[in-house]
């Protein structure tokens, strides 16, 4: 398919809106997260604040996605919802760091202890990083009825998907051995990010119609495929197996997934600013991540989050 003539092709206005929102929300993410980092985990600001800046980038991304989802679900993305999006980004960044950055033991410990937290509410805070994570969660939890059945399920299903991801990593130990394991990796990526976007949405709005829930779940899955393709080489260096770093022709696979998912979003979501923003953002994310992967293939690169 010719991308330039696809019916869902984002308008110049939607593309411009993504650009201006990224700049706006980057500043807002700093406003929201910097005081928390300073109060609870100032060590994160060391080394020129590289890790903190990565967190701000992820938070910015979540704020843009949150903006699109909120508008799709018929609400205004006001100051409070922007704050929720920013906090959610910080929360995701820290959870991902427990899962991805400190080895298998830390990942398994996080999965077990967060599972205990979801069953009992108790969470023993052992490090400042955990304290920051917990404070962000507590702030998110007071923003919505956390005992709403769909909110509870989205959070717990996200945790189950994380647990399965960690278990599969140790099972595959650096490479997926069969077609079936490749399929499992794809399902796991879909679930992890599909439920994550739903968790974001349940914090942002009081109700999600089932019809929207499934389309937003698909949008979340696409974010993960794109993200994993961008981080493909960094993940392989860390012996982290993902669907996107195990398929034989990743760029072609991602293009196929992108076209199928974006076509679905265009067809199923109500026409409007929210849908246009989501598609424009995903298109930009896709293009920049493909470029990042190519760049890393040419020269061993870092896992730095890029938009441009």
């Amino acid at each position: 398919m010719d991308l330039a003539n696809a019916p869902w092709q984002p308008s110049a206005l939607a593309r411009e809106r993504v650009g201006s929102l990224i700049a706006l929300y980057r500043d807002k993410a700093r406003e929201i997260l910097y005081p928390l980092v300073l109060a609870h985990y100032p060590a994160m600001l060391a080394n020129d604040g590289i890790e903190y800046r990565k967190m701000i980038e992820l938070s910015t991304k979540m704020m843009v996605v949150g903006n699109a989802c909120t508008e799709i679900l018929g609400h205004d993305y006001d100051e409070r919802r922007q704050m929720i999006g920013g906090l959610f980004g910080g929360c995701c960044f820290l959870a991902d760091s427990f899962l991805d950055d400190f080895g298998e033991e830390v990942a398994q410990s996080y999965v077990a202890r967060f599972g205990e937290f979801l069953s009992t509410g108790w969470f023993e805070l052992k490090t400042d990083r955990e304290r920051l994570f917990y404070v962000i969660i507590a702030r998110l939890f007071v923003e919505r009825d956390i005992l709403h059945p769909i909110a509870r399920q989205a959070i717990v299903l996200l945790h189950r998907a994380q647990a399965e991801d960690v278990a599969m990593r140790s099972e595959f130990g650096g490479a997926a051995s069969s077609r079936r394991s490749l399929a499992n990796l794809k399902i796991c990526a879909r679930n992890r990010s599909g439920h994550a976007i739903l968790v974001l949405c349940v914090f942002l709005v009081p109700q999600i119609p089932l019809e929207r829930l499934t389309t937003l779940f698909a949008a979340g899955a696409l974010v993960m495929y794109i993200d994993d393709h961008g981080d493909s080489f960094a993940d392989l260096t860390d012996r982290r197996v993902t669907f996107m770093n195990q398929v034989t022709r990743p760029e072609r696979t991602l293009r196929r997934l992108f076209l199928a998912h974006v076509g679905r979003l265009y067809g199923e979501l109500p026409a409007g600013n929210g849908r246009d923003l989501l598609i424009a953002f995903l298109t930009r994310y896709y293009v920049t991540r493909v470029e990042k992967n190519r760049h890393q293939r040419r020269q061993a690169g870092s896992a730095w989050a890029v938009y441009e």
Binding site: F123, E124, L125, L157, I187, R190, P209, E211, T214
Partner: protein
Amino acid sequence: MSSGDGKNGAALVDFVAQTIQSLYSNRRLRQERPLLRIDNLEDAAQAPLQFDAASGRLHRRGCRSIPARSRLALYGVWRIGPEERKLACSRCKPATMEEEPENRSDATDMVFGLFSLIDQFGSVLRERGQEYRKSEDGRLLSRQFEGLFQRLDRREQDFLSTLLTSMDGLIKTIRDIDDRLNNSNGEDKANGHDKDEADPAD
């Protein structure tokens, strides 16, 4: 309360959230009781309807059309809305289901919830209350409360006294029942601690 209510409100959320966890870590609460159970997957698996978030299909529980790959994408749903009938699985046809009566929480659950909190955090609340009563703010509040009490008419004073006495009595009754149950289970605990460690004021 929204943490967006202002910096003080948000800082209070941070403080309370951390303090509760540190009370737990320092074994000052009933260890065996959960604070908040978010995990409802067992209940959700028993819901009459299961929504497959991956395929967008709504099934009856146990429908054989639910693909294995959707195992961790299923959301338990308790009722089907008119707008959601079009998502129904064509095999199990959940749209034709009769609605089961809803199992709603009632006011009694709320009262028991409140008392479970008082019971779980009782020793901490009492200790904090004693400290607060001695503080300058506490003394001021006490004087204000006495002033307010004096301004009430006789009927209102009687009502307030009855309310406070009833609450006291109810808490004591719940504690007695709880202690009896604990002892009948062969445990000799007081508020989650060995009796030797319990507040001497008990």
